[in-house]
């Protein structure tokens, strides 16, 4: 464990926690511009979190202790995930603790806990949201795992930093298998982060919501943590995407700490582009009916399996 490693690790987590709400603000800004509205400021998510933190929490009478601990567990899970994902550099000492499969497991843990919390109050919307979230989850999770498998078959490792390191070290060539996996990953990213076309993050129209239905009963500091967690989850997914498909510009291996200084602006640039792209996808597509969602996700799953088969059969 070197000093550079610890520095990369701490800086990576800090950058994730700080930048995540800003990234969400940037996506919202782009969406507003694309739909010809005047945009909220970039720091709007931060303002929301600050406002929520100052309020008194209101909790339903029927809430159990589980309901109150879940926001902290979610936040903990997402920050731990951020510590495994190579967002700035690949020299991450903590990443030994968990590889990409454990990362998928970590996301599953967060999903299960938020669904349990949603069912805890015993309202119609809560359990509906939990059911839909788990439905999206059981289709998206295997697809994500297949994407990870494709990349790890190419690199001979399931450790995310190693994968990013290997891919970054190769010449600029397009692997057909990774192209399939990339499309599948994008679809999973949209579904798992409650974006259009699966869910609409700005809706409170009762019958269409998924994520919002689950967090209806949260308020104040609990809600603030959940909002932050959602931002962090989006950030994590985007960074996994960078690590698998655009790994260039990461501080690799035992390079000197100065490489981090170069990696940070590059990360911000990638985030700006990705945010704009995400906003574009969300603006030009319409939300699917909830029963079309399985088809969308099944397609993601099939694409990911196809990527794996292409890798295995054609070796490309």
């Amino acid at each position: 464990m070197s000093l550079t490693g610890i520095l990369t690790q701490l800086l990576g987590v800090a950058v994730a926690v700080v930048l995540a709400p800003l990234f969400l603000g940037w996506v919202n800004q782009c969406r507003a511009w694309l739909s010809n509205r005047s945009a909220p400021p970039l720091t709007q998510p931060y303002r929301l979190i600050r406002k929520l933190l100052h309020k008194d929490a209101v909790i339903a009478d029927s809430a159990s202790p589980l309901f109150r601990v879940v926001p902290y567990i979610l936040f903990g899970a997402m920050v731990t995930a951020a510590a495994i994902i190579p967002s700035l550099g690949t020299n991450l000492p903590f990443a030994v603790a968990a590889d990409a499969i454990a990362l998928v497991g970590l996301f599953a843990t967060a999903r299960v806990f938020i669904s349990l919390a949603a069912m805890d109050i015993g309202t119609a919307f809560g359990s509906m949201g939990a059911r839909r979230e788990m439905m999206v989850g059981f289709l998206a999770e295997p697809a994500l795992l297949m994407v990870v498998f494709t990349a790890s078959l190419i690199c001979g490792s399931t450790a995310l930093p190693t994968i990013a390191d290997t891919l970054a070290g190769r010449s600029l060539a397009i692997y057909p298998s990774l192209a399939f996996a990339g499309v599948a990953f994008l679809m999973v990213l949209l579904a798992e982060n409650a974006r259009i076309p699966i869910d609409n993050p700005s809706t409170h129209l009762e019958l269409t919501m998924i994520h919002e239905a689950m967090v209806l009963e949260y308020s104040a500091r609990h809600l603030a943590l959940i909002e932050w967690t959602s931002a962090l989850k989006l950030f994590n997914y985007v960074c996994i995407g960078f690590a698998l498909f655009l790994p260039w510009g990461l501080a690799r291996g035992e390079e000197n700490p100065l490489a981090l200084l170069w990696a940070l602006p590059l990360l911000v640039l990638k985030l700006l582009l990705a945010g704009a792209g995400l906003a574009l996808i969300e603006t030009v597509s319409a939300k699917l009916r909830i029963f079309r969602a399985p088809e969308f996700l099944a397609m993601a799953f099939m694409l990911a399996v196809l990527g794996l088969l292409v890798r295995l059969l054609l070796g490309s």
Binding site: D56, V58, A77, V112, F301, L308, L312
Partner: protein, 667 residues
Amino acid sequence: MFESVNLLTGALAVAHGWIAVGVFGLLRPNSVRFVGRFLFPLGALGGIVLAVIALLAIQGPIESVVLPLGLPDLPLHARLDPLSAFFLFLLGSASAGISIFGAGYFREGEGTAPGLLCLQFHVFLGSMALVLMADDAYGFMVSWETMALSSYFLVTTQHRIPEIRRAGFLYLLLAHLGAISILLCFGVLQGGSWQFTFDAMRQAQLSPAWASVAFGLAVVGFGAKAGLVPLHVWLPEAHPAAPSPVSALMSGVMLKTAIYGVLRVSLDLLHQPLWWWGAAVLALGLFTALYGVVFAAVQTDMKRLLAYSSIENIGIIFAGIGLTLLFHAFDMQALAGLSLAATLYHCLNHAFFKSLLFLATGSVLHATHERSLGKLGGLMHRMPWVAWLALIGTLAIAGLPPLNGFVSEWLLLQSFLFTPEIPQPFANMLVPLGAAALALTAALAAYVMVKFYGVIFLGRMREPQLAQAQDCGWLERLGLLWLAAGCIVLGLVPSFVLRQLGHVDAFLLGAAGEAHADGIWLLAPISSHRASYVPIVFLLGASVVVTLSVWITKGIYHGHIRRSAAWDCGYPLQTPRMQDTAEGFGYPVRHIFEPFFRMQRKLPSPFDTAPRYRVIVEDWTWFGLYLPVARTVLKTANLIGRLQQGRISVYLLYSFLTLVTLLVIVL
């Protein structure tokens, strides 16, 4: 250290001790106090002793002994090798928790008298131990049948209810179909030597065709016990019928004796597996896993749900066995060792979390007298002990880190990632699809367990009488705690467990197959560059963040909390009936996997004054396989029955005709 022969003697003593404890139950057959406060805890102690003996024996040399028991020319052989030691450890450690729970669980006036129940329960335990130690076909079959019979009596504890008798009959029927198949398998395995000791079977030289026949018979025979599709039909019937500790013992432990049988036959008694055995078992296992989990998602009875979830887990275990055989057939022993370790690990995990969940349903059943998920809910408030301990089991079975279910799934997925190295293009193609199916199964299992836990323990109480539910007693809590602690420990120290499993690997696959585990905490089966997992660090990291976030949000801001009615988008009228039911929660799965089910729907018309909605989900195998077979058997029996006239002159005519026919043939 212990003398090596003493370990086998000790294990045999525990097995017979259990039977003796059972017999003591007959001394005072109607005293719940004597049985519950004395005999069951004694049985639990036996379990712990057995687990310790097995842990010592797993690394030790192979011990065997010829017992002065049995028929004149057929003495019983017993043997303790790493494979049986592992399964004895599973039996001892899981049954200790179940017995302690059982001490507080069994009450008066529930079917069979407590003393008799104690006898059946402990004979069941003892016979399972003897199955694992038997070293000849004769002793194996006797113990196997004792196990089947004693569990049959345990399933039909409440024998006054006709459905329970039916469920018991179905179980007994399939158990015997399986037993016939196992018997035939041993018949093939002796290979013309007519020696039925396992040692003779190891020496026998079988042609590949006969070896395949033996393997197929073993898969069918042990598969019927384990619940491989389509031989799984008894599980969802027998588990709801049996008392919960019995369900826990059957699902958590007895199913594993079948896994033991498959491993014993395929890796020990038969030497060279053919690659297609592995492919076939892998496909069968994955199909079983998917089938089980999809059905579990639509169940409305909590114990049926868990029964289908057992089928799913057995499927995962069989997939692991298939992968092991595949690697073994291509002589890739290190990888075979990895997947075998994953398989055994999953057996152990399943013993703990499934027993925990079955026992939790038992406590719920006692507190509410309700098995239907549609009439439960909100028990977290009334039964916090059961609810929090069941939460651990739920998270573990859903395969979430850092608990134990995740470790075995992780190991299995890792072994799947090595399959491209198999030098056989056909098997090579099967495998990514296998990995996809396994991932889908694992994700669906999480769905099922959220449904299970959410509907029973969370939300609001769906029936007013649930408000009277009482939390379980201290003995039951102790049993649940033991199993929950097992789930946590197995999840946090995987490398220790893996090192023990390495002895089993080395025994079955040779020294090259020993699974690796670097360091004490680090789990890195092949190399740490390739993949690693350190649950302790992982958990520590997450806990630090959680503590920090609690401290920051509460410390820097404030901790004020107000209670009020649920908001729910401002709808004023909210009743507990508006929560998702079990049917509602299962709807997406029913919709997506429609071809799996045989569904009968009854929808109300718009003009109904009292509209009723009804949907019945059934298993295709009943209508596609079992009922036609049953009809054919019945028809044949009727045809043969025509011979039976009830008049002695007709029977004399039959004898005369037979004699004449025989004479014609002979002359």
